[in-house]
């Protein structure tokens, strides 16, 4: 039993206040104006909870300090150095650390419990299971997002059955733990099996589904913390963990809806499923028109409304700043420039928004998909920068397309569409895009940053 230097009531009160601060902090995230303050309130909550925990009797303060300094330094350096384009992999990695911490805390608590009761053993097993899946699953997601391993779907025949078997073994290990609470072995069996499970669950998921995976792992990291809260019977862990769990689930739902995919279809994706439908030659054959920066600059001379639709390609090319430069020139001429953001553009929820915020684009200029689709016919020139599947009209027109039914930004309904892209290569979905062959579409081939730099040059000269 943990005792404290002060009355336990005060400690629990501090935990309660911390929990309330987390909720108020998250509420601050509902508007860009209050978000910064919300984050600070949440951080104060964390500080309060940590100070309360440090008042427990008999702690090894010197070792806590060692761990805290090491972890704090790594966290601080990462936070300062990470580039905005790298946010998806950083969040993925941090999700994993959260899972690992839960595995270790549950393990330590279980090891030192005098007489673990049924609820503690089950909670311990679940902490190990969820935490370990989160840990290795996030490491795989990190490696895929950082392109340190192939980002597509990997696996082997029968991987689904294999995963099912692993889940059964992990649950059996938890049951073993419940029956024989003295068995440390059972816990580590659950952890090892779940570590393998995290890998085999994540490797078949790739490409366009990555935003779903990090949102889901985000949720798992919270659920793992909540499960650890049940091990320690600590309310602040349960509350904070379930807030994060709920947040991740909501983002997962939003991402799935934006791709018209069910969560089950993402999680249990058929390994190696090849894209079907018309070939690139059928779609493009002689119908693709290319253009030059000078020509686009001339077109923009007469435009009154311009919409920029960014995709992951903008992040790769680091083109957000030059996009902003272009918008500045056009706005100085009285053109209304806005940005159409597809919910799954990029590799994590809100990825495009932070890149554009980094480039000083006011958030009022970022329009959501449904919102801008209503006005798309009034757009004179729509500039697609590194987006592909999220603007593919086949999703709307071709019921047999692999992306049929996925909501898209209807750029093909704008008066003129300029697509800035290296080549006609397909996006994550691996299918050709009839937009590129449309009458009102012109391709400006080239690296996003380079092509737009030339365009900005042409605009300045024009």
């Amino acid at each position: 039993m943990i005792t404290y230097l002060i009355d336990l009531g005060w400690v629990n009160l501090a935990y309660l206040v911390a929990s309330v601060l987390f909720i108020i902090g998250m509420k601050g995230m509902t508007h860009p104006r209050t978000a910064l303050r919300g984050n600070l309130i949440s951080a104060w909550g964390m500080l309060l909870a940590v100070v309360a925990a440090l008042l427990a009797n008999g702690l090894s303060y010197q070792w806590i300090l060692v761990g805290a300094v090491l972890g704090g330094a790594v966290g601080a350096i990462t936070a300062v150095r990470v580039q905005m384009t790298q946010m998806p992999e950083m969040v993925a990695l941090f999700n994993g650390f959260g899972g690992a911490a839960s595995v270790l805390v549950a393990g330590a608590a279980f090891m030192t419990a005098a007489e673990p009761d049924l609820q503690m053993t089950i909670a311990t097993g679940l902490s190990g299971l969820i935490g370990a899946v989160t840990f290795t699953g996030s490491l795989i997601a990190f490696l895929k997002l950082a392109e340190k391993m192939p980002s597509g779907s990997l696996g082997f025949p029968g991987i689904k059955a294999f995963n099912g078997l692993l889940i059964l073994v992990a649950l059996a290990g938890t049951a073993w733990l419940a029956v024989d609470p003295s068995s440390q072995m059972a816990y580590w069996l659950v952890v090892v099996v779940s570590c393998v499970l995290g890998v085999t669950l994540t490797i078949p998921i790739g490409g366009a589904d990555m935003p779903v995976v990090i949102a889901l792992l985000n949720s798992y990291s919270g659920l793992a913390a909540a499960a650890t809260g049940f091990v320690l019977m600590n309310n602040v862990l349960i509350i904070a963990g379930s807030l994060v769990g709920a947040s991740g689930i909501i983002l997962t739902q939003i991402m799935c809806k934006a791709m018209n995919r069910s969560l089950g279809a993402v999680l249990f994706a058929e390994f190696g499923g090849a894209a079907s439908g018309p070939s690139a030659d059928d779609v493009y054959g002689g119908k693709v028109k290319s253009t030059s920066p000078a020509e686009v600059a001339m077109m923009l001379e007469t435009a009154q409304r311009v919409l920029v639709v960014p995709g992951y390609g903008m992040a790769v090319a680091q083109a957000q700043h030059i996009v902003r430069d272009m918008a500045n020139i056009l706005e100085a001429r009285g053109v209304l420039v806005e940005y159409g953001i597809h919910p799954v553009a990029g590799r994590m929820p809100g990825h495009m928004n932070i890149l554009l915020a980094e480039a000083d684009v006011p958030y009022e200029k970022l329009r959501e998909m449904d919102d801008i689709n209503n006005e798309i016919a009034q757009i004179d020139v729509c500039i697609v920068v590194g987006a592909n599947d999220t603007v593919n009209p086949a999703a709307r027109n071709d019921p047999h397309s692999p992306i049929a039914g996925m909501p898209i930004i209807d750029v093909d309904r704008a008066r003129t569409v300029i697509v800035v892209k290296r080549s006609l290569s397909p996006g994550f979905a691996g299918i050709p895009n009839p937009l590129f062959a449309a009458d009102n579409c012109l391709m400006m081939f080239g690296d996003g940053k380079k092509a737009l730099t030339e365009l900005v040059q042409a605009l300045k000269e024009g």
């Binding site: 943990i2 909720i23 998250m26 509902t30 860009p32 978000a35 910064l36 949440s42 964390m46 940590v50 440090l54 008999g58 702690l59 090894s60 070792w63 806590i64 805290a68 972890g71 704090g72 966290g75 601080a76 990462t78 936070a79 905005m84 946010m87 950083m90 941090f94 999700n95 959260g98 690992a100 911490a101 270790l104 805390v105 330590a108 608590a109 090891m111 030192t112 985000n218 919270g222 913390a225 049940f230 309310n235 602040v236 862990l237 349960i238 509350i239 379930s242 807030l243 769990g245 709920a246 947040s247 991740g248 953001i341 994590m348 929820p349 809100g350 990825h351 932070i354 915020a357 006011p362």
Partner: protein
């Protein structure tokens, strides 16, 4: 058993509050929301700290200290990077 039910009550209510609050977060803030929740999931730090008791077996202390390090990466890194990102939303005008 009573304690378990009390804990489950807290869990269910907190999930509900989470759904209510997070549903209102605009897409523009989804990335900071995720990094901010990274920081909050570092709450395991509390569990890690109280597991470092000196009367514990050495192995338990080792696990707890490693957990402190992992959780601190989340807490410090999560809050700092979120702060950095949100600062970019604010600096205009």
């Amino acid at each position: 058993m009573d304690m378990l039910i009390a804990a489950i009550t807290v869990f269910v209510l907190a999930v509900y509050v989470g759904f209510e609050v997070i549903t209102k977060v605009p897409p523009t803030l989804h990335t900071p929301l995720m990094s901010g929740s990274n920081a909050i999931s570092g709450i395991t730090l509390i569990g890690a700290v109280v597991s470092t008791r000196t009367d514990n077996p050495t192995l338990a202390t080792v696990l707890a200290v490693v957990a402190v390090a992992f959780a601190m990466i989340n807490v410090v890194g999560g809050y700092m990077v979120t702060h950095r990102m949100l600062g970019m939303f604010r600096k205009k005008r």
